[in-house]
């Protein structure tokens, strides 16, 4: 019945985060995601990491015990596609191919949206360039806690962002129709988008063959992608954009990840066979006739992708980003998905897709002590997030006794 919940300041110094003492958290139920639920259970945290998790964990003498037996714990959630923290325009509009641009250079750690993420249980997120460039640059994985980008950083070059479809061409004017100016931009069609993408990679291939004396960072990054050392995150909504992305991945030997993927239900078999990761924006509104980009509305896309074994992460959909992603997971279950799949889709799956699955995404020994404490089942919309912990420290929620 509390009307006001004051969120503690999130500006916790890094050294403090790392040297926190051992603490044992007792829960009514632990949902580790990596295995069956443990109820009741204990999470033993030491130096920001999970030391032990289980039903019968021997708590060493002198270790502080925080009793949260009335609550359930689940891993901190992972948001696999955001523009949070980017100050100003998330698109570099002077050129349509900007592989060497790093969003990390424009992250404002004090952006309120980081706090909003924590409030809804997101403790790891990808910050990536926008959708106006064909190849927009490098996205970074951060935790929404810290005073500087460095403190927040989990993985710097996590994905190379590219976009198929109409967005990079949207509103562009060819120099011929109006006066050529700085604001005249290519491409102006879907075909043009694909050509810009191909041209960039073809140029990189030639660069490798010609071995010029001076290094070109743009091309080095594209080569890294062609060597499968850097996944390419392709924003593609419509079925034909997805098809194009698959074709381009074949042509240049890329590790493809699909983002948005509204019409991925048309390629379930192929995506499963090729193990293409999908970062899906779910859409669960029967009032709409078409999706924002004109695609076919389907509620079973997630269920089918997950059942086929596609590594799939759920996004907020059209949910206000200040609502928990768990609502989308709950709806995915209603529309045919397995409960485990839905929970994985907001935790370990996005962590794996971002290449940080070793550190976050489940409640297992050795992982970062990032967890969300709820009043009830995560998939019950009536459940409330009461506390959020990152690296074993309380970053959201009231003081628990003297802790």
């Amino acid at each position: 019945m509390k009307l006001i919940v004051v969120v503690a300041s999130l500006l916790l110094p890094a050294q403090e985060r790392e040297t926190s003492d051992a603490v044992a958290f007792k829960f009514g139920r632990i949902i580790p995601v990596s295995g069956p639920d443990i109820s009741p259970g204990v999470i033993l945290v030491e130096r920001g990491k999970i030391k032990k998790v289980g039903r019968d964990v021997a708590v060493p003498d002198g270790v502080k015990i925080v009793d949260l037996s009335a609550y359930a714990a689940m891993p901190g959630m992972v948001d696999a596609a955001t523009g949070i923290g980017i100050t100003g325009n998330p698109n570099e509009e002077s050129s349509e191919i900007t592989p060497r641009f790093r969003v990390f250079d424009s992250i404002d750690p004090r952006d309120n949206r980081f706090q909003h993420s924590i409030q809804v249980g997101v403790t790891t997120l990808l910050v990536e360039p926008g959708e106006r460039n064909v190849i927009g640059g490098l996205g970074s994985v951060v935790k929404p806690v810290g005073r500087s980008g460095r403190e927040m950083l989990v993985r710097e070059d996590a994905v190379l962002k590219a976009v198929m479809g109409r967005r990079p061409a949207w509103g562009n004017q060819s120099p011929r129709r109006s006066q050529a100016s700085f604001f005249s931009r290519r491409p102006t069609t879907r075909m043009g988008v694909v050509w810009e993408f191909r041209k960039a990679f073809l140029d990189a291939r030639r660069y490798r063959e010609e071995k010029p004396a001076t290094s070109d960072e743009d091309k080095e990054i594209l080569l890294k992608a062609m060597d499968r050392k850097l996944p390419v995150r392709v924003f593609a909504s419509r079925s034909f954009d997805i098809e194009t992305a698959l074709r381009l991945a074949d042509e240049f030997g890329l590790t493809l990840q699909l983002e948005e993927a509204e019409e991925a239900h048309r390629y379930v078999g192929e995506l499963a066979e090729r193990k293409v990761a999908v970062v899906l924006r779910p859409w669960f509104r029967t009032s709409d006739l078409y999706l924002p980009e004109g695609g076919e509305i389907r509620f079973d896309t997630f269920a089918r992708l997950a059942a086929a074994g596609v590594p799939v992460a759920l996004l907020h959909g059209d949910l206000d980003v200040r609502e928990s992603m768990l609502a989308m997971a709950a709806m995915a279950v209603k529309y045919g998905a397995k409960r485990e799949d839905a929970l994985r889709a907001v935790t370990i799956n996005p962590a794996g897709i971002l290449g940080v699955g070793e550190r976050v995404g489940t409640l297992e020994e050795g992982k970062d002590a990032d967890f969300v404490v709820l009043t009830g089942d995560p998939l019950d919309v009536k459940s409330r997030i009461e506390w959020v912990f990152v690296d074993g420290r309380r970053v959201y929620g009231k003081k628990i006794g003297d802790y």
Binding site: M1, K2, I4, V6, T286, S287, L319, A327
Partner: protein, 413 residues
């Protein structure tokens, strides 16, 4: 075509001739696993008896007439249909460009085949108050409809229920100018009423040749009704500051009014309580407010503030996101942040009906009320629950098993 009509005519004649009425009304009995009556206790394994589109009896030991049609909803949950106390959807452009249009009605604007109505039924709404938008000074009159039927006439429950007044300043206008314009409109009508009264007095004493001249001007009719207390107004208050102005305004002109409020109007909850207003809440029930100075986020939960101030309120769906467009989600959100469950359900049914002044017909499962019911597969506030069927005026108007669109989005053929 002519033959068809002829055939129908012959049959109609025969039916009349044989002395039997074609129209007859058998009763319907619904066997329910659980009845959420809203007005009273929940009933396990109860029966709802419907006759003539009305609820005739509710309870555990109801005798089912031998010829009644029986709907088996045992194992299911039955509750009154959701009531939307205020929406601007389902119409062609809700906001008139002219600032003051009290004479227009959304009745002329409702599009019966708008997907909004079809979807409302799918969600379990049985009563909707469709109102002019929030951005016109005096926006016109709203209509209560049921989301079923292919014509506005068939959908209409109550035509021109209330007048819409907005305190949201129009673009390029200050709040002072906005309120001044509003007062001017009302003062003009008051003057008109005075003139009318005068003319009518003259009329009775002289001959009737000028009678037409004294007829009520149709453009002013609704406003005259509002000022004479024959109609009430929904006053839209975008924020807490405008609530205070709304209270002043309503007192000054002695009109009957209820409020539709923006999300931070809860800050004036005590003033609203003191003035005795009922409110329809913003779709954003809970939101975070940023304290820029302290770099802190504060959670605001409007229904809790209004409940504490003892103001009667109804939820409203809409807004931009998935969550706020579902009534079950609105109620569940309120419960998540601490509103008692029964109050949350009332805010989406009975209290909404009371705010519309139609609680004698809608909002709960009680003897004598319209048989507007929803059959659910589980608890109404559970995300996993489906609306199985919807009953309006005693007729089954929606069945999930026959919902082609739902089948399509779920991947069926």
């Amino acid at each position: 075509m002519r033959t068809a009509w002829a055939t129908i005519a012959v049959f109609a004649t025969l039916a009349t001739a044989s002395g039997r009425s074609i129209r007859y009304d058998t009763k319907t009995a619904i066997k329910c696993g659980r009845i959420i009556t809203v007005s009273g206790e929940e009933i396990e394994n109860g029966i709802i008896l419907i006759g003539g589109g009305k609820i005739e009896a509710v309870g555990k030991n109801i005798e089912i007439p031998w010829d009644a049609k029986v709907i088996d909803a045992s194992g299911k949950v039955v509750m009154p249909g959701w009531v939307e106390a205020h929406t601007i959807r389902g119409v062609d452009r809700p906001n008139e460009m002219m600032p003051s249009v009290p004479y227009v009605s959304v009745w002329d604007s409702i599009n019966p085949v708008d997907p909004y109505f079809e979807d409302s039924l799918r969600q379990g709404f049985t009563t909707l108050y469709v109102s002019p938008g929030n951005f016109t000074l005096i926006g016109g009159q709203g209509v209560v409809v049921r989301p079923t039927g292919y014509t506005v006439e068939a959908m209409t429950v109550a035509k021109n229920l209330a007048m819409k007044i907005s305190l949201e300043s129009r673009r390029g206008m200050s709040r002072m100018a906005h309120l001044a314009a509003l007062r001017k409109e009302f003062d003009d009508v008051i003057e008109y009423i005075a003139q009318l009264k005068e003319k009518r007095e003259v009329k009775t004493s002289t001959d009737k040749k000028d009678a037409e001249e004294f007829e009520l001007d149709v453009k002013r009719e609704a406003m005259v009704h509002l000022l004479e207390g024959k109609m009430w107004a929904f006053v839209y208050c975008p924020d807490a500051a405008s609530v205070v102005k709304a209270i002043e305004f309503v007192r000054q002109y002695k009109i009957k009014a209820k409020l539709v409020v923006g999300r931070d109007a809860w800050k004036a909850a005590d003033e609203i309580a003191k003035a005795g207003f009922e409110v329809v809440l913003d779709p954003d029930l809970a939101y975070w407010e940023t304290d820029e100075d302290r770099h802190e986020e504060v959670l605001r939960v409007a229904p809790l503030a209004f409940a504490k101030a003892k103001v009667k309120f109804a939820f409203q769906t809409g807004g931009g996101s998935f969550a706020t467009s579902y009534m079950w989600y609105q109620a569940a959100t309120a419960v998540r942040y601490g509103l008692p469950r029964d109050q949350a359900i009332k805010a989406a049914t009975l209290h909404a009906a009371e705010i519309l002044g139609m609680a004698d017909r809608f909002g709960s499962i009680e003897k004598g009320k319209d048989a507007n019911l929803v059959v659910l597969t589980g608890d109404p506030l559970d995300s996993q629950t489906w609306v199985d069927s919807v009953v309006v005026d005693g007729r089954v108007v929606y069945e999930r098993s026959k919902d082609e669109k739902l089948k399509r989005v779920l991947g069926g053929k």
